[in-house]
């Protein structure tokens, strides 16, 4: 049996990561979950949050903006709308964006606008927490 987990992270534009790792932690809509090799088949939607990849003692932290995870005997696939490398994010820019998004939300009128902005605010809040952590 394989003692490594085949993991791929795919965004609409391209494949961002593909390879064998020890463990992946991801933010499911019903809570964070970790995937080790030989995990049972599992399918869940993701909320915005950090994805942590553990491989031979090294950890890589990425951030996904919503998406979907699929664990099969072949490995784990995450389909993410947007994925960022947490090490490369400028924390101050997020604060500004978050402030703007909150102001926009206060001004938003239509139901759809409010819905989309709420999602954006949730995303930016999660991103801020993840960067600070």
């Amino acid at each position: 049996m394989a003692d490594k987990l085949q993991f791929s992270l795919v965004s609409p534009e391209r494949e961002l990561f593909s390879g064998e790792v020890d463990q992946v932690d991801a933010p499911g809509t019903e809570g964070m979950f970790g995937v080790l090799p030989d995990h049972a088949p599992f399918m869940t939607t993701l909320k915005s949050g950090p994805v942590t990849i553990f491989n031979s003692g090294e950890t890589t932290r990425l951030f996904v903006r919503g998406g979907f995870a699929d664990v099969t005997p072949q490995g784990l696939t995450i389909l993410a709308e947007e994925a960022l490398d947490l090490a490369k994010i400028d924390a101050s820019a997020i604060g500004v964006d978050l402030k703007n998004a909150r102001e926009d939300l206060a001004d938003a009128k239509t139901e759809h606008e409010i819905e989309h902005l709420q999602e954006k605010v949730r995303y930016l809040e999660a991103l801020e927490t993840a960067v600070a952590a």
Binding site: V10, R14, T29, P41, F42, P73, E81
Partner: protein, 293 residues
Amino acid sequence: MASLKDLRARISSVKSTQKITKAMQMVAAAKLKRAQEAAEASRPYAQRLAAVIGNLADSVGVGEGGPALLSGTGRDDVHLLVVLTAERGLCGGFNTNIVKIARLRIAELEAAGKTVKIITVGKKGNDSLKRDQGSKIIEHIDLRSVKNLSGKESAEIGTKITDLYEDGAFDIASLVYAEFKNVLVQKPMVQQLIPAIAPEDAPKVDLQGASYIYEPNEAEILEALLPRYLNTQILSALLEGAAGEQGARMTAMDNATRNAGDMIKSLNLTYNRARQAQITKELIEIISGAEAL
């Protein structure tokens, strides 16, 4: 008969046109390569998503009570056409062909007594549809400032469409775009977007005897995934359109360069003939002048 000076001016002007078309062809070739790579790179996501949707739709069922994006509104009175064209011209019949198909479809739907609404993406399609179908265009999406098409643009378009759908603005949505067959052939076509058609021949995953754990549950996952599926369809149409545009431009500019070459050749011939005729004429004048003395 044009004078020698006129001919010279004409030749040099055609030569500089040829230089421009040649340069445009080379730029289009380079851009085409990039556009093809982008389309290629977006495939894994689309394939995975299509497979998952296909499997989920099978087990959840698409009948009444299923997700609205799959089951439809139960009516087909109002149709929305999303027409994807290029932002720029000079690419042969590329834009014209897409608009032609769109017009055909509009006429067909109207003959059947349906209401048609249009969203245009790309300046060229908007310009030409505005003339005779202006009242039906409910929105125009401008991508001129976008250098590299990404999920962001398609998500923007997709969100707009799903919002309209949730508001009950239309019953059926279709995409009109040019499918990229190869560099020479782009086939304009109409593809139904909403209600979404779940991929039929989705590859089944071998679970090795185990069964899936779903969180929250199958129906909700499907509901969350459908808008994304819509977005990927739009993205792939956008990317194919972009590749097709460059392919069409490359072919058109290649033809233009060749035509300019032919023209230069024939102009040169006329020029040389006129020059020789003039020399002969001058000689005759000199000789007959000398004989008269």
